[in-house]
């Protein structure tokens, strides 16, 4: 008898002892397409320069000169780099390995720069404005996405993000107008967001109403209520109730002086800084703490959690409430965060986009944040390009962020798996 554990005659390709991956052709194919487009762009490019501006105003502490890139040569350089990346991706495919994430990121950045150079001929691309706007469009999305991630991770589908953002925006406007203390508006908005979350939790956990129903209905309900109160109360008493005091930007010493990065990230209001904190805390909390472990257990396998003595219903309740508070905080960005008075439906479907970011980000706080940022970037790219004048009809420019999202989801992200018990009520026997 001889002991057989593995056989040398194994015909299968394995590399370095690692297991081989059954092909994802998506990335190489997308790369190839992008490279072809880049080459076409380089061939057809108009001659001229595209300027990149690194400072927003002459008041910025660090002044950098504009960088002028000649369009044709730059595009050729980029096209060649992209081609190299594409070859690399195909090579990886041949040896059945994944294209590393950093390469995708570098590739994407190069492609975007190429696009800016191509589209901005004869104009200046204000980098700070472009990135800063992207961030500010993403802020409520990030908050909303965090709320969505927490909700789904604990097993409650949070469709009511829109309602939570809107109620937060509403409360913040009123509290800040009445007290003239925008800082007071933050906890107030969190409380209203939390209330919406509690209603969601109460109906879906206590009365076992389908979570999607409650979420959808809460959105309608909150839109109805805030619009009602807006036209009945806020409009007639706009002076007292709807002149929100804006949060001041608080530049962070030193950090805010870094060129480009500084003004974009560190010359912001407290709502934005709280967002950084929230993302970090939720990401670390979910995967490294007892809170996160229990929360995820309840969302993946509530019965298993129950059998080890975790109270499923109350875990869900409090975390959905927490999620509501986070989204409520995000809602403040619409009003006191940007200095706009409340008006009807001012969240304009952002809650649904945040929901998309949750899924796009595969229920992971960091990835969802990146998804929100991508959306913000595409939106603001649209703004910048339509301002400097684009030959494409404005409606098509406005489609850009949505199309980019679809392409990204279909082309790069693909299948994603929700937490197993998300959306399912927990009923004890």
């Amino acid at each position: 008898m001889s002991v057989v554990t593995s056989r040398a005659s194994d015909p299968v390709v394995t590399i370095g002892g690692e297991t081989a991956n059954p092909v994802s052709r998506k990335v190489p194919i997308v790369f190839t397409a992008v490279t072809v487009i880049a080459v076409l762009a380089a061939i057809s490019a108009r001659s001229g320069d595209t300027a990149f501006r690194f400072t927003r105003s002459s008041a910025d502490p660090t002044q950098l000169p504009e960088m002028h890139l000649p369009v044709c040569p730059t595009l050729w350089v980029i096209a060649v780099l992209l081609a190299v990346g594409t070859l690399f991706a195909w090579r990886r495919l041949l040896v059945r390995r994944k294209v590393p994430m950093w390469l995708v990121a570098v590739y994407g950045t190069l492609a975007v720069i190429g696009f800016l150079v191509w589209a901005g001929v004869g104009h200046a691309i204000p980098l700070v404005g472009l990135l800063g706007g992207a961030l500010s469009l993403a802020v409520p999305l990030v908050y909303g996405a965090l709320a969505g991630v927490i909700g789904e991770r604990v097993g409650v589908v949070n469709i009511a993000i829109e309602a939570q953002l809107l109620s937060g925006a509403f409360t913040a406007a009123i509290v800040s107008s009445v007290t003239k203390q925008p800082l007071l508006a933050l906890p107030a908005a969190m409380v209203t967001g939390m209330l919406v979350g509690m209603v969601l939790a109460a109906f879906s956990l206590k009365y076992l109403v389908d979570q999607v129903i409650v979420g959808v209905v809460l959105n309608v309900l909150v839109i109805g209520l805030t619009s009602f109160l807006y036209s009945q109360v806020l409009v007639p008493h706009a002076d007292q109730l709807n002149t929100p005091v804006r949060l001041d930007a608080l530049p962070i010493p030193l950090l805010s002086d870094i060129p480009v990065i500084g003004p974009v990230f560190f010359r912001q209001t407290i709502v934005v800084y709280l967002m950084y904190v929230a993302v970090a805390v939720v990401a670390a909390g979910l995967f490294r703490t007892r809170w996160g472990l229990r929360l995820r257990a309840v969302g993946e396998h509530p019965k298993a959690a129950d059998t080890v003595g975790i109270k499923v219903i109350s875990t869900r309740l409090w975390n959905v409430a927490l999620a509501g508070a986070i989204a409520g905080l995000g809602g403040t960005f619409f009003t006191i965060g940007s200095g706009i008075a409340f008006n009807k439906q001012m969240t304009a479907g952002m809650g649904y986009i945040a929901l998309a970011a949750v899924i796009f980000g595969k229920w992971h706080p960091i990835k969802a944040t990146l998804a929100a940022l991508l959306f913000g970037f595409a939106s603001n790219l649209q703004n910048t390009l339509s301002v400097i004048g684009s030959p494409v009809p404005s409606e098509f420019m406005l489609m850009l962020p949505y199309v980019v999202t679809i392409l990204a989801v279909a082309g790069l992200v693909g299948k994603s798996r929700a937490p197993a018990a998300s959306g399912k009520p927990y009923v004890k026997g």
Binding site: M1, S2, V3, V4, T5, S6, R7, D10, P11, V12, T14, T19, A20, N21, P22, R96, G285, R288, T289, R290, W291, L293, R294, R296, A297, E300, H301, K303, A304, A305, D306, T307, V308, G309, I310, K311, A420, K428, G429
Partner: protein
């Protein structure tokens, strides 16, 4: 700690799952609970563990009445339970699963995973398990998951331990290991409730036996009772424990597999260049410890695996690469290993589940319409024929007990015109009476000239059914041996030792 259940009654609607059941378990005792599928064993244990609230009755620990509002209370009182359906979070690691609910933390609620790993290693060492604390549970074979479940229960130092069918997915060696653990625990003074359908185990390890039928205690038995006695007490009639089967009348080669390789979604090669044949009228049993490629092999036979190389021929026709539907239509019967996930739609009625794999055409769908009357007749006859215990054919399958669910799957797969039957763990969790029946059905299919592939970790089952036995280890075929091969030889092969040089393809 002494456990006493007094007059426990639990109803599910009209159904009385536990009818005034009383049970006492002394410290230092292994108390076996026997009963056919749906007798109410798990229900009783779930009441004990605080998962279900009983309608009446009392739970006493050391004579003190307890009030459990949830498992948390039961655990605090010193009760631990290994559940019939694993209570593990699939996307957590072993260590995370074990620590869940009583996590060791550092400052700020951060998890102390090192402590959890040490705990896992410590318990695993104590009982001689081999377990990587950082493995993801979903990647583990079922047998190993069972160990995790056991470690989970042990990690809390429970004084009363409930094992609800822990051996259903274990190999003989693993089962022996577990019984050793149970004896160890008993000797250290724990009160143990042990539920199983395998009479051999009961007689080997139990100190006392209580038998439940239709929610009532029908009697006690001594561990010295014979298998036949125990079986008839459980089922209420005499049970044949040996499958009567004639020598095979071998026909032509029905299934021919050559150089088959299967790559799973992680890119791991789980079946490696495997070749074998099954003739018409023959049962080939695939034995092996869970996770050695059997599951993937059977799935490949039904076209469920995406990345497959090599050839699969059915009656000489190449079928690899065909759609599942095509293979089903071509006459492949398939009993999946995991009936809940793969074999049944829990929210469908019994009748609907019986037509699940024939939803696209004759005989149940004509001109696009489901033939309700035909389906109902069919369902009634199958429920009667396979003795499925249900409140009606429109009962949702998820409300059936495990064994009865299994019968629904078997009934469905055996009621088609078959050219190949692939059955994975066909009697997992099924009571002795039903095992007998299911085995008879499989043998009948073979006698009708169908080539049969049975995958089982249960050596009794393998021996009972197999005309030939193929043992897999690490994705390879270790050997193909005659049906009469001894348990001990099989056990060695299952550990990767090759019996017959060159028998493997």
């Amino acid at each position: 700690m002494k456990l006493e259940l007094r007059e426990i009654t639990k109803r599910f609607g009209a159904l009385v799952a536990n009818d005034r059941i009383s049970l006492a378990v002394e410290p230092g005792e292994i108390h076996a609970l026997l009963g056919e599928n749906g007798a109410g064993k798990s229900t009783l244990m779930n009441v004990l563990y605080g998962l279900y609230a009983s309608d009446s009755g009392e739970i006493l620990l050391d004579g003190v009445p307890q009030r459990f509002t949830g498992p948390g209370d039961a655990m605090a009182a010193g009760i631990g339970m290994v559940h019939q359906h694993f209570m593990l979070v699939p996307c957590f690691t072993v260590a995370e699963n074990v620590m869940l609910g009583h996590e060791a933390t550092r400052f700020g609620g951060f998890l102390n995973l090192d402590a959890a790993r040490d705990k896992v290693r410590e318990i695993a060492d104590r009982f001689g398990f081999d377990l990587d604390p950082d493995a993801l549970v979903e990647d583990l074979p079922v047998g190993v998951q069972q160990r995790v479940e056991i470690i989970k229960a042990l990690s809390r130092d429970a004084k009363v331990l409930v094992f609800d069918e822990p051996t259903a997915v274990l190999t003989p060696q693993e089962t022996d290991e577990l019984m050793g653990i149970m004896r160890q625990l008993r000797d250290s003074g724990a009160a143990i409730v042990f539920i199983t359908h395998k009479l051999r185990e009961v007689r080997e390890v139990a100190d006392r036996i209580t038998v439940i039928r239709l929610g009532k205690v029908v009697g006690e038995a001594s561990p010295t009772a014979t298998n036949a006695e125990l079986a008839s007490l459980m089922v209420g009639r005499a049970v044949e424990l040996i499958v009567h089967k004639n020598p095979p009348r071998l026909g032509e080669v029905g299934l021919a597999v050559s150089e088959l390789t299967v790559i799973d979604h992680h890119g791991t090669h789980v079946v490696k260049n495997v070749s074998f044949e099954v003739r018409r009228g023959e049962i080939l049993a695939i034995a092996g410890v869970q996770g050695n490629g059997q599951t993937e092999l059977t799935e490949a036979l039904l076209g469920l695996q995406k990345h497959v190389r090599g050839s699969i021929r059915l009656d000489g026709v190449e079928v690899s690469g065909q759609s599942v539907r095509h293979l089903l239509d071509a006459g492949v019967g398939f009993v999946p290993e995991d009936r809940n996930e793969d074999g049944l739609v829990g929210d469908f009625s019994v009748a609907e589940n019986l037509m699940l794999d024939r939803a696209h055409g004759e005989p149940f769908v004509k001109a696009g319409s489901v033939q309700q009357r035909k389906l109902m007749e069919f369902a009634r006859s199958k429920v009667a024929e396979f003795d499925v215990r249900t409140q009606g054919i429109d009962e949702h399958v998820k409300f059936l007990s495990g064994g009865n669910q299994q019968k629904v799957v078997i009934a469905r797969e055996l009621s088609r015109e078959l050219r190949l039957l692939v059955a994975a763990q066909p009697t997992r969790g099924v009571d002795v009476g039903s095992v007998e029946f299911i085995h008879e059905q499989i043998v009948a299919a073979r006698d009708a000239g169908v080539p049969v592939v049975v995958v089982s970790t249960e050596l009794d089952e393998v021996s009972a059914l197999a005309d030939r036995i193929m043992v897999m280890y690490g994705g390879h075929i270790v050997g193909i041996v005659p049906g009469a091969t001894s348990r001990s030889d099989l056990g060695l092969m299952m550990a990767g030792e090759r019996m017959t040089e060159g028998a493997a393809a």
